[in-house]
């Protein structure tokens, strides 16, 4: 019997493929990204300055070297791998977090606030259930409402998602569907919009 025609093997493969227990925990994804960026790649410092936006170095009057060191510290600690208080916030309260795993206890990390005067970034997940869309981007006050900055990724289920490190506070955002359509997050409170009359959504980001 060839593999492809084998009923048992086909059913085993289907069952293993659909494995509901293998649904990713968004917090694990955020931890992964933080871990990847914790140490520089061998090809140089330029790689530190990637597409993510970072908080300002307000109040820094030190030398370039010191400022660079602090910036590194911020990046290292900002997205945080092992601080329980830095589990990703969910921009949408209803998206299931399978497993609900707790982070492993790690070496205590000095809060970035201690060195920068501002709080650390909090990985924040955004989710839009829009299987019919061809492209979805996140736009908001954190990326100057620029559609090309933060694309969402389509999961197999048709759900679009992006996990973005954001500074604590209130952020107004929307989804940009297929490049032109501005859509509020159906799962989040509305922002109101006296200026342009097109409501967005609000997420309160804070280190839990």
């Amino acid at each position: 019997m060839s593999d492809g025609q084998d009923v048992v093997i086909r059913r085993v493969a289907e069952t293993l493929r659909s494995a509901p227990e293998a649904v990713p925990d968004p917090r694990a994804v955020a931890r992964l990204l933080s871990a990847a960026w914790e140490t520089p790649r061998p090809t140089g410092i330029r790689r530190w300055f990637g597409a993510w936006r970072m908080p300002a170095l307000s109040g820094l009057g030190a030398s370039a070297v010191a400022a660079a060191a602090l910036l590194m510290g911020f990046v290292v600690r900002g997205a945080v791998r092992e601080r329980p208080s830095q589990e990703p916030a969910m921009a949408t309260g209803e998206f299931p977090v399978p497993g609900g795993g707790t982070p492993s206890a790690g070496v205590p990390v000095v809060p970035a606030a201690a060195v920068t005067g501002e709080a650390a970034l909090v990985p924040t997940q955004f989710v839009l259930d829009r299987p019919d869309a061809h492209a979805v981007a996140l736009v908001g006050d954190f990326n100057d409402w620029q559609g090309g900055e933060t694309p969402l990724t389509r999961l197999e289920s048709g759900v679009w998602t992006a996990t973005v490190p954001l500074p604590p506070g209130r952020h107004v955002y929307a989804f940009l569907v297929d490049g032109t359509l501005v859509v509020a997050d159906p799962r989040a409170p509305k922002s109101g919009d006296a200026d342009y009359g097109r409501e967005g959504s609000v997420v309160m980001v804070f280190a839990r």
Partner: protein, 219 residues
């Protein structure tokens, strides 16, 4: 609309041994506004704000928000001009705070209908060197959910005085949001949740004795 800017801008600033003032005032990103008249008008507005020492990044974001939402040029200009005014008001109300993030949060609060006096009271509830971004943002959110500014202010300043952390204050805003979404009356949600956060804080006596100088005593 906070203390964000492009990473490359930060890199450039760092490498140029930026002063503190310069670090707070990056050059605005290039405005991708197709209509030249609108773009120039917005650029002038941003330049004026920069000359007055106001944060410019919120203005850039406001203009780009209009572009993304396909608003007319007039509307974009009006929105940017109006925000510039609010930033100026917020700076005065939040003095001596000078951080771009606080001024931007103050301007957002004013837009949401938070009275200027509330901004002053929030600023006064914590020492001047402690950022009030989170209390301001939660105030904005509570008012946006329909809670009278007076009630929201009472609860927030009470929490601030009792030594609540920014995260605890934020959790208040977040919980009230969830309650309101679930159908609870905003005022009732605030009262319940504020009580919840308050119960986690040390007693007023302990808070007063351990509070850093400049923190207002609890009511």
């Amino acid at each position: 609309m906070r203390q964000l800017r492009s990473a490359t801008t930060i890199a450039a600033l760092v490498l140029a041994s930026a002063t503190a003032a310069a670090a707070q005032q990056p050059r605005p990103v290039a405005l991708s506004i197709a209509d030249a008249r609108t773009r120039q008008a917005v650029e002038r507005e941003i330049a004026r704000a920069e000359a007055r020492g106001l944060p410019t990044q919120p203005l850039v974001a406001k203009a780009m928000e209009g572009v993304t939402k396909q608003a007319s040029g007039e509307r974009i200009q009006a929105a940017v001009a109006s925000l510039a005014k609010r930033l100026e008001q917020a700076r005065v109300l939040l003095a001596p705070s000078t951080s771009a993030a606080e001024i931007a949060s103050g301007a957002d609060a004013l837009a949401a209908g938070v009275p200027g006096a509330a901004l002053k009271q929030i600023r006064a509830a914590w020492p001047a060197d402690r950022s009030v971004v989170m209390p301001l943002d939660v105030m904005t959110e509570l008012v946006a959910r329909g809670i009278p500014a007076k009630h929201a202010l009472e609860q927030i300043t009470a929490l601030m005085s009792r030594g609540a952390t920014p995260a605890q204050i934020a959790s208040l805003g977040s919980s009230v949001n969830a309650d309101v979404a679930a159908g609870l009356a905003p005022d009732a949600a605030l009262e319940v949740r504020a009580r919840g956060v308050m119960s986690l804080l040390p007693s007023p006596a302990a808070a007063a004795s351990s509070a850093p100088a400049g923190v207002r005593p609890p009511r």
